[in-house]
């Protein structure tokens, strides 16, 4: 058993969780007593992914820095798992000059060329670019792959259909990953999606589709291993749908009136990090001390990123007026 691999996955999950929890706090700064979305060090919408760590970590565990990823409006977990620079990402979220995009992008528009990571705030928009990146990889003769992440709500956008069909025709090395967190803002999957599992829609494109139940990083790891290996080997695209849960609201400030009674508590009880922690303990890979050490480490890493972001200077307002076109 590859102990190091599991520990690394666990660590990344902890890093993501810590990041999201701390960002929730930082985001709340300056926004009380009355929640004001425009106030505080981090304004604008904030979509946190705590609880969805298994998806990002289980999939990205199989990716290399030169593989491409497109992420949706809820991007932090994927960015972190893909190796986006945490400090510069945080500075971007703080709107600072040292941010990935110098403060022009923000939380829904994280771009890191080095990590081949990009992002969009438009639901379903990440599917087509991933197919294009995959085409470029196939043409260059490399074994690089592209992965498009999106929510279960996004699977009802026309781009889903068009992109899966195009990818199948082009035998593009792209894996489509649907994060099924059961809601699109307030709309439950049953109201948005005419069948139970989007993975069954893979048949419409003659490609493999797999549903991964249980919000379980090990199950995701397994499914992603196969999917990505197939794509790398020239076997073409496939579709994974991954059962997961979001532990915060759709965005910070979401009143969550639409949740069923006890639903959130149930998700919390089944926290995927705690379950993985228990599994690691049961397999003798990690003890309480190890847990504490990792949690301390990631906490320090997150604090460092937040400190870096806080202390970074604001962008020069004049920078707003330049950079539309490459010279």
């Amino acid at each position: 058993m590859d102990t190091q691999r599991y520990l690394s996955m666990y660590r990344t999950m902890c890093l993501i969780r810590r990041y999201e929890d701390r960002l929730a706090e930082v985001y709340a700064e300056g926004k009380s007593p009355l929640f004001n979305i425009a106030a505080g060090p981090v304004p604008g919408e904030m979509h946190l992914a705590a609880g969805q760590e298994p998806v990002a970590v289980g999939v990205c565990a199989h990716l290399r820095p030169d593989d491409a990823v497109t992420a949706p409006h809820r991007p932090h977990h994927i960015a972190i798992a893909k190796g986006v620079d945490l400090k510069r990402m945080t500075a971007e979220i703080f709107g600072k000059a040292a941010g990935l995009s110098g403060g022009k992008g923000g939380h829904m528009h994280l771009f890191d060329a080095a990590a081949h990571f990009s992002c969009s705030g438009i639901v379903g928009a990440g599917f087509p670019p991933a197919v294009g990146a995959a085409l470029a990889f196939r043409r260059s003769g490399s074994d690089r792959v592209a992965v498009a992440f999106a929510g279960e709500g996004a699977a009802n956008q026309g781009t889903f259909h068009e992109s899966l069909n195009l990818a199948a025709l082009w035998k593009a090395p792209v894996v489509f990953v649907i994060e099924d967190n059961h809601y699109a803002i307030s709309v439950p999957k049953g109201v948005s999606t005419a069948i139970a599992q989007n993975s069954d829609r893979a048949a419409s494109y003659g490609i493999p589709g797999t549903y991964v139940a249980g919000n379980d990083v090990l199950a995701v790891d397994e499914a992603a291993r196969e999917a990505i290996a197939r794509a790398r080997a020239g076997g073409g695209p496939c579709l994974l749908e991954i059962d997961t849960t979001r532990l915060y609201g759709h965005f910070q400030g979401d009143p969550e009136v639409y949740l069923k009674a006890g639903e959130k508590e149930e998700w919390r009880r089944k926290d995927p990090i705690l379950r993985f922690e228990r599994w690691l303990a049961d397999h003798g890979i990690l003890d309480a001390e190890g847990v504490a050490r990792i949690r301390d480490e990631v906490a320090a890493e997150v604090e460092e990123a937040i400190r870096f972001a806080r202390e970074a200077p604001d962008p020069d307002p004049r920078s707003a007026f330049v950079g539309v076109f490459a010279e």
Binding site: I37, G121, I185
Partner: protein, 338 residues
């Protein structure tokens, strides 16, 4: 004149009240879109409707804008009067074909056989750092293509009257509500937008501008959230003895050209303020109309304040740099008169 006891409403409340009253009055009026049901609309435009009218008339949709906006075409052809919410105008690109090639053109292309009484409402504008894909207004783009009426209220009174007019109109109407005027509590909102709103239903003609401040020295022509900004600018300018006139266009299609021309012929000076991109849009159109029909009245070059053809940046100092502000309006007016 509003008395102390007169009821003030936020723009969000005014809109949902208009919807409720029209739904009460006319069973053909339905509302659909993402999160318009239990949630009450991300910006509260459909608050309370789900409880009152139930899931058959207030329908949560999948994230399939082409399908659910396009569905309004067939539904309106067959007797319904849908009010459809596109959550942010910024998302129009996934559904534009249904909007501009069909909803907007079918009446003309069918020689008048088909009419589409559809209100397509959406949130516009920034000011809270939602960045390049959630902060645009884009009304110039919709006004450019024929067949869509374009409504942009700047306060709760207009919001209610224009919504009722939009619902009763037999044509497709795009109804843009500015997030920064809605009075949402969780987002900054200009308190000039929260005004007295009568309880009973009333209409405001689509195509009539409103001179919200009278003045003789310079015309400030604008729409939406920059109306209260222009009003504040006019107040500051008044302190300098400059009497600025503020024209709230209220609708872009039909455009109340005469209101603009009348003001410019009176003041001889024009500043156009637009929260949309500067080039090839509303500010150009207003300027062109004056260059066509009031050229001899202009005593100074026309000036435009608008987003300077860049995507809306995220960071606070960057976002603030690209939107027209009270200060930039005041300064531009002073320059023109200086």
């Amino acid at each position: 004149m509003a008395t102390e006891t007169m009821r003030k409403l936020t723009m969000a409340r005014a809109i949902s009240e208009a919807l409720a009253q029209e739904m009460e009055r006319d069973p053909r009026v339905l509302v659909w879109g993402e999160d318009v049901g239990v949630y009450g609309g991300i910006f509260g435009a459909t608050q309370g409707l789900y409880t009152r009218f139930g899931p058959d008339r207030v329908i949560d949709t999948p994230i399939s804008e082409s399908a659910f906006i396009g569905a309004a075409i067939g539904a309106s052809a067959e007797g319904l009067r849908p009010v459809v919410e596109l959550m942010f105008v910024d998302f129009f690109g996934v559904a534009m074909d249904q909007i501009y090639n069909h909803l907007a053109k079918n009446h003309y292309m069918s020689g008048g056989q088909f009419t589409h009484p559809v209100v397509l409402m959406c949130a516009v504008g920034g000011g809270y750092n939602d960045a390049a894909q959630h902060s645009q207004t884009l009304w110039g783009l919709f006004a450019h293509v024929p067949g869509l009426k374009i409504v942009v209220p700047s306060n709760a009174y207009d919001a209610k009257g224009l919504m009722i007019s939009a619902i009763r109109d037999d044509n497709p109407v795009m109804y843009f509500f500015h997030k920064g005027l809605m009075g949402l509590g969780w987002m900054p909102s200009d308190d000039l937008a929260e005004v007295h709103v009568p309880e009973e239903p009333y209409t405001i003609p689509i195509g009539q501008a409103n001179v919200v401040v009278e003045g003789a020295d310079i015309s400030l022509v604008t729409i939406g959230a920059t109306v209260p900004r222009a009003v504040r600018a006019a107040r500051q300018l008044a302190a300098d003895g400059i009497r600025a006139e503020v024209v709230d266009l209220r609708t872009l299609v039909p455009l109340d050209k005469e209101a603009v021309l009348t003001s410019v012929r009176k003041t001889h000076r024009l500043v156009i303020i637009d929260e949309d991109y500067r080039s090839f849009g509303m500010s150009g159109e207003i300027a062109a109309i004056c260059a066509e029909e009031a050229l001899d009245f202009l005593e100074a070059p026309i000036r435009r304040l608008a987003v300077p053809d860049v995507p809306i940046p995220y960071a606070r100092p960057l976002e603030q740099a690209v939107y027209p502000s009270v200060e930039s309006i005041v300064q531009t007016a002073r320059e023109l008169l200086g």
